[in-house]
Amino acid sequence: PAETFHNLQELRHSASLANKIFIQRDYSEGTTCKFQTKFPSELESRIEWTLFEDTVKTLNNYYAEAEKIGGQSYLEGCLACATAYLIFLCMETRYEKVLKKIAKYIQEQNEKIYAPRGLLITDPIERGMRVIEICIYEDRGSSGSSSGSSSVSGSTAR
């Protein structure tokens, strides 16, 4: 089963979408972008919580880095103001650079960890930074081959 879903495109077409879960934002530290690390119950049978927590914590760190107010961001801000923001025609903002890193990280995580388990993470930027959307796929090809499929088959038996 791990090899079956190694190709993400293949995953989307051959498997059928069983459920989608949404990891909401954690606003306990203000308006900075941070996602809740609470492990959702639907994933209990699909993935180890340490892997999940790791992914979310790394994403949170990336966002914190993007929104960090410090020497470098001030420099960028002042330089941009001095050039009447025309500098952004040729240069990316730091936020955009970090977003690119995040996209790469998510792609990598999907390929290595989530797709083999029949899961797929959607980049939060595509959902307006509100949620991390995780698609749970049901393996249609092989019956009950994915680990702990009892909860999955239960939900689709209706």
Binding site: S16, K20, T31, E67, K68, C78, R130, T156, R158
Partner: protein, 431 residues
């Protein structure tokens, strides 16, 4: 035979009830040839220009007035006062004036044309997920559910997050829904008609620089116009010199603009928004322990973070193309299978919303046994699948509810959506 019956019934349905000029089957084929950008099916009331590069509020009349006032005042100054002053005093005067004028225009245009930090509306799946969570929490499904709030503790202060019925999200702290633009805006300050746009997280610094530089410009012009009048009145007389000068406009605007700059300087240094200040959210009058949880503690950090902090990117991706192949199929267990395009077209529905939701539940109950038998032929059709071949062996039952997006950008009127739900009910009861 089963299919034949349903097809003939469908024909009857369309001839009886359909009021739209083009049937839904035609539109996908027409649109397939021209790809639409996301701004074209943006659900809010914002206006877009230059193929999605410029984003403004719907009413831009006052913005034009602002532009005219600035241009006319500056124009008069440069035409009538500058030559005299450049000769009499120094050429630095028109130069500095020119720089200030360009800076004012630049920041004004930047404020007016950029995305203030609009939060995109929830996708149908997200909205459904939230609804489920709320229903579980409430334990009741009334026709009009009570206002939904979530409490969160930020830096020791309890903040209430409100649910936005239009955008179907829980608003992040400091976000607010602008009724004029019909969007939720992050760190909503206010809707400024002079600038023709909301002022929010992404354009607040430009707005502040605009009013600050405009104050300098008006004071500059005012001062040098007075100087000009004084110098001239030594020669010609006071009244003669008074004509041809933009003194009157400057006089009134100086006080209001300078006052506004002062007010916003105070807001920035205490890290508050106009919205919060007006409501008195963090005022000590509310309670002894009431303080602003977002403030960094000192004025300098507050100012720096507001003006020189990182600029977040726009979340609405105006110029991206609508991807017709990102069809998300929810399983029949969720209710009705819905197509989720990245931007959903939602009209303003309050009670219709609830009516359609309940209709959806009825349909779900009625059609569940049918789903296993039929192939991918849609039972109720408002939007047909773009890639019908890739549907799995489940029936796709589409309902034009508020959550169902019409991914091809047709605004759904309340009547036609309601109509479709009714059509669906009639369809199913007859099969």
């Amino acid at each position: 035979m089963h299919l034949g019956v349903s097809e003939s019934m469908r024909e009857c349905e369309y001839s009886q009830i359909s009021t739209r000029s083009s049937t839904p089957m035609e539109t996908p084929y027409k649109k397939r040839t021209s790809r639409k950008r996301k701004w074209e099916s943006f659900p809010g009331r914002s206006k877009f220009y230059c193929d999605g590069r410029i984003m403004m509020a719907r009413q831009t009349g006052v913005f034009c007035l602002t532009l005219v006032l600035i241009l006319v005042t500056s124009g008069l100054f440069f035409t009538f006062d500058c030559p005299f002053l450049a000769l009499q005093l120094t050429t630095a005067i028109p130069v500095i004036g020119g720089v200030l004028f360009l800076f004012v225009l630049g920041t004004l245009l930047r404020t007016s044309f950029s995305d203030p930090g609009v939060l995109p509306r929830a996708t149908p799946d997200e909205a459904a997920d939230l609804e489920r969570q709320i229903d579980v929490a409430n334990g009741s499904t009334g026709y009009r559910p009570p206002p939904r709030t979530k409490e969160v503790v930020i830096n020791g202060q309890t903040v209430k997050l409100k649910y936005c019925f239009t955008c179907k999200i829980f608003r992040p702290p400091r976000a607010s829904h602008c009724s004029l633009c019909d969007n939720c805006v992050e760190r909503f300050d206010h809707h400024c008609p002079w600038v023709g746009n909301c002022v929010g997280r992404r354009n607040y610094r430009f707005f502040y620089m605009f009013i600050l530089s405009l104050s300098f410009l008006t004071i500059f012009i005012f001062a040098f116009v007075i100087t000009h009048i004084i110098l001239r009145s030594h020669r010609n007389g006071f009244l003669n010199a008074l004509k041809d000068s933009p003194v009157v406009v400057c006089f009134f605007s100086v006080w209001s603009i300078v006052g506004l700059s002062g007010f916003h300087t105070y807001l920035i240094s205490s890290n508050q928004t106009t919205n919060e200040d007006i409501k008195g959210s963090w005022s000590s009058k509310r309670g002894k322990d009431n303080y602003n949880p977002y403030s960094h503690g000192n004025i300098f950090t507050n100012c720096c973070s507001a003006l020189c902090g990182p600029l977040p990117p726009s979340l609405i991706d105006r110029r991206g193309f609508i991807q017709s192949d990102t069809l998300q199929l929810a399983p029949p267990t969720n209710g009705i299978t819905m197509y989720g395009a990245t931007q959903s077209q939602q009209s303003h529905m309050c009670d219709q919303d609830q009516c359609i939701q309940s209709t959806k539940f009825v349909l779900q109950a009625a059609t569940t046994p049918l789903l296993q038998q039929q192939t991918s032929e849609p039972v109720i059709l408002t939007t047909s699948p773009e890639n019908g071949g890739s549907l799995p062996g489940r029936t796709s039952l589409t309902l034009a509810g508020p959550c169902t997006s019409l991914p091809l950008g047709h605004p759904a009127s309340q009547d036609s959506l309601h109509e479709d739900s009714v059509r669906g009910l009639v369809k199913l009861s007859s099969v």
